[in-house]
């Protein structure tokens, strides 16, 4: 069986959950014996100039898969910028404006020409994620073979008319969680027979040493950990304010450790209690998961949350924002932690997890079991074979 993945960005340098998922899924499917091609652009990732050729165009072999790279079609992005601003401000675009928007959002005519010329070679073509020119136009070339992995969450882009058209068009849609599937059904009303609730693959075998992390960073006190981008879209400034309010009201020796790109302003009165480590190595991050008393995921817009899964694999309980349907679903189904929807609940949950240490440990173990049962790579590959790549 021959499969193609079509993604706007691909490579170890490409930041983002969908990019990591695409790469790992392609590699694991190739290891399982499928022939896998990746059709992608020369751009690095969403956060760098899309027109810059970070990668050379052309084809090369990489860990058993063939990667075909094509330049992004160069186009003036001024109009895209205006339309994007309008969308984020909550305005509705006309159908014509939507077409201008998607035509400019990481699109490659060369990639589409290649796909059109070779589509007969592939049994299925997987498109990830939903919101890019490569996905929108690529699925139009082969709707009967198109498998959409949308990585959908509730955001202004999800309400574009072209998204409804996209979800109606494709052969199969792969979802990470029931809440993501429910959101798509609510927004687009597609035939449920075409949807597959599959989850996302996670590397379950890794080593982590809490003492190594504590020694390296000189942390003896219990700490609340966050790992990921530290910006508004991840709700991290709010986490900082909640933590500061918690310290002001309760005192104690709990600290907050942040890992990941960008920085976030911290109130002067609790600067000593908040440790922003910035980028750390993958091993250091894993060690941090196991050293943490609690892992917190405050984001409201997650379609899966790999960091939660990794924290659970280190037996650490998770605390999430209850207004994010996906992370809340993980918590309730696994029993792997708690969720809050207001500051008083945040405080109550922290107190509970710190006070009831045995239950907190049990939550961490339940979370780990949930990940191993549902998202280990052999399970995910089997689900792809049985439920998605079925002829």
């Amino acid at each position: 069986m021959k499969i193609a993945f079509v993604a706007p960005f691909f490579g170890t340098e490409a930041a983002g959950g969908a990019e990591a998922e695409c790469r790992k899924t392609a590699l694991h499917l190739a290891r399982a014996g499928l022939t896998v091609d990746v059709l992608t652009t020369c751009a690095r990732d969403l956060h760098h100039d899309w027109h810059a050729r970070f990668h050379e165009p052309g084809a090369h072999r990489e860990h058993g898969i063939t990667v075909h790279r094509f330049p992004v079609h160069e186009i003036d992005l001024t109009l895209f910028g205006h339309l994007n601003e309008a969308l984020l401000a909550g305005r509705t675009l006309t159908p014509e404006q939507e077409r201008h928007f998607i035509a400019r959002f990481v699109n490659s005519f060369d990639l589409l020409r290649h796909l059109a010329a070779h589509v007969e070679e592939y049994d299925f073509v997987c498109f990830i994620p939903y919101l890019f020119g490569t996905t929108y136009y690529g699925t139009r070339l082969c709707p009967e073979k198109a498998v959409l992995i949308p990585c959908l969450h509730d955001e202004p882009y999800a309400r574009l008319g072209i998204c409804r058209e996209l979800f109606q068009r494709v052969h199969k849609i792969v979802f990470h969680a029931r809440a993501e599937e429910a959101l798509a059904e609510q927004l687009y009303g597609f035939d449920p027979a075409r949807s597959v609730l599959l989850g996302e693959g996670i590397d379950t075998d890794f080593e982590s040493k809490p003492d190594r992390f504590r020694r390296r960073h000189g942390i003896r006190d219990p700490f609340l950990l966050y790992a990921g981008r530290k910006d508004e879209t991840k709700n991290v400034p709010a986490l900082i304010r909640w933590f500061a309010a918690y310290k002001a009201r309760k005192g104690g020796n709990l600290r907050c450790v942040l890992i990941g790109p960008e920085s976030v302003p911290t109130p002067p009165e609790c600067r000593a209690d908040i440790l922003d480590l910035g980028f750390v190595s993958e091993q250091d991050k894993k060690d941090a998961y196991s050293a943490a008393a609690i892992f917190c995921q405050p984001s409201l817009n997650e379609s899966f949350s790999i960091v939660m899964m990794e924290a659970w694999l280190c037996n650490t309980p998770c605390l999430v924002h209850g207004d994010c349907p996906v992370t809340r679903e993980h918590i309730v189904r696994s029993g792997g932690g708690l969720y809050f929807t207001s500051y008083p609940e945040f405080e109550g949950c922290l107190d509970y997890l710190l006070r009831e240490a045995q239950t907190a440990h049990r939550m961490g173990r339940c979370g780990a079991q949930y990940v191993r049962d549902n998202f280990a790579w052999p399970t995910i590959v089997r689900r792809y074979r049985e439920h998605v790549f079925r002829t």
Partner: protein
């Protein structure tokens, strides 16, 4: 995807217990206000957009655009005025709610804040003048 059952803590029961505990605890209003704003980071951005775009009232146009506009106004003028009035009320209410959430709102009916009759009279005269001026400009167009 299977749900696991073995030895799983009942998350909903624990959260219900936490909610019972915090119901009686004291949380300053400021904390709650900050919490409300924090859970919706785009609140201030969107409020700015509302304040900038609520005005859908008729604007002066010249040339062909002005003639078309005046024809359309005869048909749609009344509904537009209604929308305009509604938008202005909603915008004022939203601004007031956000001020209350921020804890910066002054009480609505504060003692001693009755409007000054002289000031109201002055404002009415200025409003008459402005209306006449606008009428003249619309006639010119």
């Amino acid at each position: 995807m299977p749900d696991q059952q073995e030895d799983r803590p009942d998350v909903e029961a624990i959260i219900a217990e936490i909610r019972r505990d915090i119901r009686d605890a004291e949380f300053p209003d400021a904390d709650r206000a900050e919490e409300h704003a924090d859970t919706e980071p785009s609140l201030y951005h969107n409020l700015g957009v509302v304040n900038a775009t609520w005005d859908v009232g008729r604007r002066k146009r010249t040339g062909l655009a002005g003639r078309i506009r005046r024809i359309l106004d005869r048909v749609f003028g009344a509904p537009i005025d209604e929308i305009h009035t509604f938008n202005s009320h909603v915008t004022r209410v939203l601004n007031r709610i956000v001020k209350i959430l921020d804890g910066t709102a002054a009480p609505e009916n504060q003692a001693g804040s009755e409007p000054d009759p002289n000031r109201l009279a002055q404002l009415a005269v200025r409003l008459d003048k402005l209306e006449k001026r606008i009428g003249t400009l619309e006639g010119d167009a």
